[in-house]
Symmetry: C4
Subunit: 224 residues, 4 copies
């Protein structure tokens, strides 16, 4: 696997992405993980994923491993997959994701607790929503589901899966007091979705602390 | 056009400016666009402008294109102008702008919604206002118009145009829930105006969340 | 001592760590200090520690000195140990620390005053708590003791010591209006603990300013 | 003057300092200025000072000029002294300053307006106060005078001067809605004072928005 060209490219891209996320302040204390789906030719490997416990400020491609559908490493590697590998694998099975990015930013940790009881966060009226695939206007509402956090990742994956199947064009979810999962058809789109969500989580955190006028989300009428 | 010297210089300067804006946190998720007016010799090209959908963290001069007065690209180029090119073109037609910069910062997105119903934001009493061309004292009030956001950029341009014609020494406006447009007689002045507005939007965001004494904006009387 | 290999490595690592902490904004105005325990072979030196009054943005390995159990420098060096060396030495004597890191971040300075009267800060329900050695679930409460600040470091060390002996798996404490002490079995773990605490102090600062739902800290029940 | 060794060194140090202040976010939109006192041998030059209107992100030593006691440039130079040169000159005459640094940070702009009516800001109970020359304990109160802003810098200098003469160990002041002046016996000390004030202004901004326990500023009694 370590000489499989797609894996090598993905390992480099994931290490770059993880260091970038660290610089943004979204990956403190060795937290977070990042993965890219591998092509069918890589079977039994499903995806390349960052191994657990690595400092994301200095992560290297050698800290990325390939895992099969049961979350077992398929390459010779000292690293260990994170327990959260289950959530990545569930996403590759459930949504049309080519890459899955999981961050621990401050706004994600805070808002996911603040709105945990509602079970979701509604993002509406922001121009930046257009950065999400399938969104063509700010005058819409995007639901970001929030799930209770758990240490039983298999149970959590089973709980999340049906909610995502029903959700049209869902590109992410929050775990309460934990962080954000975002995905896209490839790493580039997943990164853009991640940036959009992190920006809007920061907006919503401000709005919930200090309020904003409710009318801004409506479409302007040109004749007005 | 791609070998036209002014275009080449502008393309490099715009790519530099866009990467700088990204580093400031003002250009998340491939959003924002930046343009410079081209000289009369460049006809039919009106301005050089960043093409749509490019990640501003890594934008290159080759991601900048030249557009005519109808917003059509006039050089051989894979890029596509943003729909917001219409707002840039309207500004080159309406105000004496040599460069137009459009950012998506957090304070711009938030304040533009918070104050959307008032239709404008009043910036007064800040020393940094003197960074705006034509302002010689902090003891003044600068109006930053706020327009409802829209996906119909032609209609939006038509709505904004008369408001700007009437406004003396206006150097920018906000789109609600969207971001800031700032301009200047050249790229250097436009950049300074952008920095001034972004700083003051952050000040005003704080003031609206937590208040401040009202007397600070008045001129001090030396004899006091 | 200056040619003792462990000291040389530690001096380099501590200078790197201090410059990193400065870049995070946790070491303003020449404040803060950082130490690593030296092996038994280094007797009478107990630890390598940054000398007082050095700008942490530009600190060099030559600004690190070795001190004995009475806080006296044991190498030829122009530098002077900080008065807070006493707290470092007390920690090496009391807890199984291999490295001690003391920062002056904004959230640490603020929260330590805000919660000074309670004598401790309770961190609970955050996934990132798992970054602390011995913590396997977010569904727990970690106590961060807060002590009144003092300029008499020997008296302060004597006051803190019994509180730490009683505390199970304590990895840090706050001094009110001053900053954070964090430690770990080696420099790598101490750095991870520092990042975890600094992140969670920022979370708690937000929560105390703006509140959050109380239910997020509970373990999710998969059958729900 | 341009070949006078002290001037050359000061010009380099001031350009470095100004770019550093810009990176901190304390010098937006070409604002702020920085100076160093020149030795008696440099007469008629009193100090080296950054010229007005220069972007501090890219300022060069050639953007620094030497001015005499009337604020006139004494070297051949395209640059122009800022009107605020008067405040720098007043400080060199009134306090034992070797360097004067003037920044426009967000907390300085905000707090100086918030507390303008009180005429001063009281900083007390913070360990970092010890970063100010002459302060040996957190258990003290440092007054930071606040003056109304003005565009008449000579009148403002005349108004400020008597207040500073009376103030023991004063290392800075605020101009309302404008920014901070900090100084020290040399550039290194002035920079440390600047960092201390900027950090504490950010602390106080938070405290005024969200409050803190009042007891943290008191000295701890070891017997407690």
């Amino acid at each position: 696997m370590d000489t499989f060209p797609d894996f090598k490219v993905s390992a480099e891209e994931l290490a770059d992405l993880a260091r970038w996320a660290y610089r943004k302040g979204w990956a403190p204390g060795t937290s977070t993980n990042y993965s890219v789906r591998l092509p069918d030719a890589a079977v039994p490997a499903v995806c390349a994923i960052t191994s657990t416990g690595v400092d994301k400020e200095i992560i290297e491609p050698s800290d990325v491993l390939a895992v099969d559908r049961d979350g077992r490493p398929v390459n010779v590697h000292g690293g260990k997959p994170s327990a959260e590998t289950w959530l990545h694998l569930m996403l590759y099975e459930t949504v049309a994701a080519g890459a899955v990015l999981h961050t621990h930013s401050l706004p994600a940790a805070l808002l996911s607790r603040l709105a945990a009881d509602q079970g979701q966060l509604t993002l509406g009226g922001w121009e930046l929503l257009k950065g999400l695939n399938g969104i063509a206007t700010h005058a819409c509402e995007v639901m970001l589901p929030i799930f209770p956090n758990s240490q039983d990742m298999r149970a959590l994956a089973a709980q999340i899966k049906p909610r995502l199947r029903d959700a049209e064009s869902c590109h992410g979810f929050l775990l309460a007091g934990h962080g954000l999962y975002a995905w896209g058809k490839d790493l580039r789109e997943a990164k853009r979705h991640l940036e959009v969500f992190e920006f809007l989580l920061e907006c919503e955190r401000e709005v919930r602390s200090h309020g904003h006028a409710s009318s801004a989300g409506s479409e302007h009428s040109p004749g007005r």
